[in-house]
Symmetry: C2
Subunit: 294 residues, 2 copies
Amino acid sequence: MSETVTLLVDPAPADASGDFAATFREVDATEPAVRVGDLAGQRGDGVFETIAFVDGHAQEVGPHLARLANSARICELPEPNAAQWRQAIETVGAKLPATGEFGIKVILSRGVDRGPAPTAWITANPAADQTAVRTQGVEVVTLDRGYARDTAERAPWLLLGAKTLSYATNMAAIREAHRRGADDAVFVSSDGFVMEGPTSSVILRSGGVYATPSPSGAILHGTTQLSLFDHLAAEGRTVEYRDIRLEELLAAEAAWLVSSVRLATAITAIDGVAFPADLAETAGFNAYLLTPRD
Amino acid sequence: MSETVTLLVDPAPADASGDFAATFREVDATEPAVRVGDLAGQRGDGVFETIAFVDGHAQEVGPHLARLANSARICELPEPNAAQWRQAIETVGAKLPATGEFGIKVILSRGVDRGPAPTAWITANPAADQTAVRTQGVEVVTLDRGYARDTAERAPWLLLGAKTLSYATNMAAIREAHRRGADDAVFVSSDGFVMEGPTSSVILRSGGVYATPSPSGAILHGTTQLSLFDHLAAEGRTVEYRDIRLEELLAAEAAWLVSSVRLATAITAIDGVAFPADLAETAGFNAYLLTPRD
């Protein structure tokens, strides 16, 4: 048992099948394992997923691998072999403790500059303690994302909708939120539509209906949001994908940021103004999200 | 003498002085040298510069290090120690052949996730043969950058104006150009202003005056463009920084993409329409740009 696991993965062609154990090599996370010429580090040129591992179960592996494949397609990377990644995730999971929460990160890079093949690795680390944000919520600020709502359709080379390693802006947005005394951010399009958080999806409840911004090319499709919407729909609630203007978020009954490892966290303030948080419903969301999900 | 040099650099505080040799460690570029947890590869979270090394001379080291410092400031990374980087560049240069063209890449990463310190490295590789693009020019397509002209001022968390490792979009833009049968791209703001190429600055000549888009926060200040403008001004030509609408570029007498390693390349077509290239003037630009410059 180890709390930290790092596995280098030699990416197999998408149509390869069988046992992929020979394509994995465990390394010590404190040892150098990547060349300086790898385009992941040189240009943020690759895609990734973060998968929660809760009490021995990797959550939503199928949707995460589907999104990884979609990101790879947008970035014109070779299609990842889902069977190989499933086995890699199982291999990592078998080394982790059977209780507790971990984050498993899957990275697929374009590979070494001028090299012929992509590189890949998978890491597992203990998740930070999420108790406070899950039970008390987060204060957010709204930040202009710079793009208009329809930009992805017009300019696919901007790679909106792909979860790429070019994440410096997402991290800068969180720093800006901290600078303003908040915990996190909600990106708003230049034409006033709610988009997503830097590392999360946005869900609001309005008139008893749950809504999230339409999955357009400009927004990452949230695996946790999707799982929660499936759960809510199964319970008979109404869920909607549609355009949401900032004014609607500000007037909502409740709203959440949801993501794979932190799960659901209620928004308690927006731009310094208190916002109604439904902490009881948040607890219910997280109770569901902590159950084994595929 | 080696054609490829890789030096790991242990970043010194900005105010440290003296001999930094003990902070450098040469490694083989084909060997792993970076941890998987390094934020350069995990999130494109770092900054870089590419410096031309021509016949034994590193070009424009001062302006490149000034821009690196500016990028670091925008990204809230520790200020790089210019003396240490100068020595690192000299150390690399001393190992390179005295003739020929090389690209020296300086990378400053936020460091290992949850780690306390930034990481850094510097690499040198032979430049690709630039003869064809310097003498025959490039065909470009115009691509919407998605942002309005004034976005950087409004939204500094987008890190526009910093040369970050989050470069996946720049690479995708060049792939899009190739897909359309062109060699390179010119980004245009969503409100119709010429910005820059994915890895170059844009200069045009109109009425005998040389102009480049105003160095606003949304455009990377071009070191090669600046050097060329200094040269042109010293020769008595008029150079201007100002807003340039796409229509003006399309109507210009000549236009160039300029960058550190490729140097000046004349634009010979825009969006599939032939464009007047001044190849004689381009040759003059490159003759100057290949002389030792500081």
